[in-house]
């Protein structure tokens, strides 16, 4: 079953190669065609067919662990600024009441209060950020990922005002001065544009799972196609009670939490 899952996953991700080829070939020197699975070439992206989603099992997440955060930020050349004002983050940790400020429970168990909760872009189905963006620099991909075109963004920060989760960061200054150990896997950005989690679309085209998932030693993350009833994530969602951030706003987040 797991093997079947894995093959399905690679098949689904890899046909993004067609679209991602131009961009990826220049950036990933080690990129090789031989890794591509053949059926890929018969399929073309169909809008809405796939919807990538993530499930975070917060029970397994260790409070002071930062492994996934570090892995993501290294892989994607996310700069490390010391001041809160200039901060840029794609995935981070915060407490229950900050991540779920509108959760209704009055008496939360001390265990939940002491846990730390991961936050990242929810890749909302009805994303307010893509609605607000005046240039389509923030846009919805055919596979549900809310992506960014850093070359089109004018830096108006409308998307930041629109996102109700604080998922977006702006490059208030040149990010390259704060990247200490550059990675070759993903391009760096310029001063004056917005950025955020890309659900590892750069890794999906290479048939890889998201960097946070791969780095986590506790199997906190499950990643998969929410539109496929047979996927691990769908089966878990159907058998476990899960939560989403601010569901009342109607954004339909694609990131789910087991509390």
């Amino acid at each position: 079953m797991m093997n079947q899952q894995r093959r399905e996953f690679i098949k689904k991700t890899a046909f993004g190669v067609l679209a991602g080829f131009g961009a990826a070939s220049g950036l990933v020197p080690a990129f090789s065609l031989e890794k591509t699975i053949l059926p890929v070439w018969d399929e073309t992206p169909v809008s809405g067919k796939i919807r990538w989603g993530m499930l975070i099992d917060t029970r397994k997440c260790k409070k002071d662990c930062q492994i996934c955060v570090t892995a993501c930020h290294h892989e994607h050349n996310v700069p490390h600024f010391k001041t809160r004002k200039d901060e840029i983050k794609w995935i981070w940790k915060n407490s229950y009441k900050n991540i779920f400020p509108t959760a209704t429970d009055q008496f939360v168990t001390s265990d939940v209060l002491n846990r730390s909760f991961l936050a990242l872009c929810n890749h909302c189905v009805d994303a307010p950020c893509t609605r607000a963006c005046p240039t389509e620099a923030t846009f919805k991909r055919w596979d549900g990922i809310v992506a960014m075109d850093y070359h089109r963004c004018i830096g108006c920060r409308f998307c930041m005002a629109a996102c109700p989760y604080g998922s977006r960061s702006f490059n208030w200054q040149d990010p390259r001065t704060a990247i200490h150990d550059p990675s070759l896997a993903y391009p760096t950005r310029q001063q004056g544009v917005v950025e955020k989690c890309n659900f590892c679309s750069d890794r999906l085209v290479r048939g890889l799972q998201p960097a946070c998932l791969e780095a986590c030693p506790e199997q906190v993350f499950t990643f998969g196609d929410l539109n496929d009833p047979q996927s691990d994530i769908r089966m878990l969602l159907e058998t476990t009670v899960t939560m989403q951030r601010k569901p009342e706003l109607g954004t339909k987040p694609s990131v789910f939490y087991i509390i």
Binding site: K97, P128, A132, C153, G155, C156, R157, Y165, W172, Q191
Partner: protein
């Protein structure tokens, strides 16, 4: 006609020189911002808009308020506004230009500004705002200039000019409505997520913009001897009073809805602005100051004896403008970002670079207004003599 702006007395040139100095200072501050990035401002990840967007919002209101003279003069043929109309139209031109420059100053990549037009996105309110503002600028500068030109020749204005003026009336309402839509359509920013935001924007614009118009007309009278008429100013004061009353009434509605319903998300920003939230209360004195001088100004304007005295009228108009500037130009934008979507509080304070850029843009706007009005006054006085 423009050559008329080149003749002036000593104080005229001192005024021009000081504006130019501030513009140069603003440019130099802006060059720092372009070089080092927007990190030189007080904005950050949590409060991601600040002084610039706030000035933009306030100025769109000033621009829209030209309708307060255009409408009675052209639709209702109220002749007493005849000498004020051109002031209103040229104020609209300069305010619209300033508001567009403030958007430019706020962009991370102003070199890509045209992307808004190259990739038109009707789902984005910015796209519509850009159309509305540039259209309004065009309508006012063309019609104002053409009418002045016709007056100079002593002929009635062409009918296409009249058509532009009529179009500019609903257009004025649209610019400030669309500007409110920039804010009021965002989920999760509860200070802005309210249906009365657009009406409140219009009400506060008609109060502050009209009060500003009265002040400009008094300044013109003092400096050039061009008197647009006490009667016009008194009528405008009435309009400003109604605008102000509507504005404070709608603010009261916000308070009632938030605090009676007791929904935390609706209360938090108002708490932060007016009472303090979790021990953070930096804006509380300023917001109360705004409220008190605003209501005080309305009181003065409601007492006929006081309103008739120019001194009191000036004081009331200044207080009204300042009150609404604080409300819209400080509270509205900062309050919308506090607390953050994760209930955290980050305090914003503009830096001196930001202040100088803002002063530079204001000075440029005033310079353009001065030149336009100089021409207008010269033409009108020539006509009279």
């Amino acid at each position: 006609m423009i050559e008329k702006a080149l003749k002036g007395n000593r104080s005229y040139w001192i005024w021009i020189a000081s504006l130019v100095t501030l513009i140069v200072a603003g440019l130099s501050a802006y060059s720092q911002q372009r070089w080092f990035g927007l990190t030189v401002t007080g904005m950050g990840r949590d409060v991601s808009w600040g002084l610039y967007i706030a000035q933009f919002t306030f100025l769109v209101g000033v621009a829209a308020s030209a309708v307060m003279v255009v409408l009675p003069y052209y639709l209702h043929h109220r002749k007493e506004f005849g000498k004020t109309v051109i002031i209103g139209e040229f104020m609209a031109v300069s305010a619209t230009l300033m508001s567009m420059l403030f958007i430019m100053a706020d962009l991370g990549r102003p070199d890509r500004l045209l992307n808004i037009m190259l990739y038109p996105s009707p789902h984005s309110m910015v796209f519509w705002d850009m159309l509305a503002l540039s259209g309004y600028l065009f309508l006012n500068i063309i019609s104002g200039w053409a009418i002045l030109g016709a007056e100079r020749k002593g002929v009635p204005a062409a009918s296409w000019v009249k058509a532009l003026v009529y179009i500019s009336i609903p257009w004025a309402f649209s610019i400030h409505t669309v500007t409110a839509f920039l804010y009021s359509g965002l989920p999760g920013r509860h200070l802005w997520l309210t249906a009365v935001l657009a009406p409140r924007f219009l009400a506060s614009a008609f109060a502050a913009g009209t009060a500003l118009l009265i002040l400009v007309s008094l300044i013109l009278k003092r400096t050039t001897g061009y008197d647009s008429g006490k009667e016009a100013r008194e009528k405008l004061a009435v309009l400003a009073t109604y605008g102000g009353i509507a504005n404070f009434f709608l603010l009261g509605m916000e308070f009632f809805t938030a605090f009676y319903s007791n929904v935390p998300a609706h209360m938090e920003s108002l708490q932060y602005l007016y009472f303090g939230l979790d021990g953070h209360a930096p804006l509380v004195p300023l917001m109360w100051f705004s409220l008190i001088i605003g209501l005080g100004a309305l009181l003065i304007l409601l007492v006929p004896a006081l309103k008739k005295s120019t001194k009191w009228l000036v004081a009331a108009c200044m207080a009204l403008v300042l009150s609404i500037w604080i409300d819209k130009g400080v509270g509205l934008v900062i309050g919308g970002f506090v607390p953050s979507p994760q209930l955290e509080i980050f305090e914003y304070m503009p830096t001196s670079i930001e202040v100088f850029v803002a002063l530079g843009i204001w000075s440029l706007g005033l310079l353009i207004l001065t030149i336009l009005l100089k021409v207008a006054v010269a033409v009108k006085m020539e006509q009279e003599s």
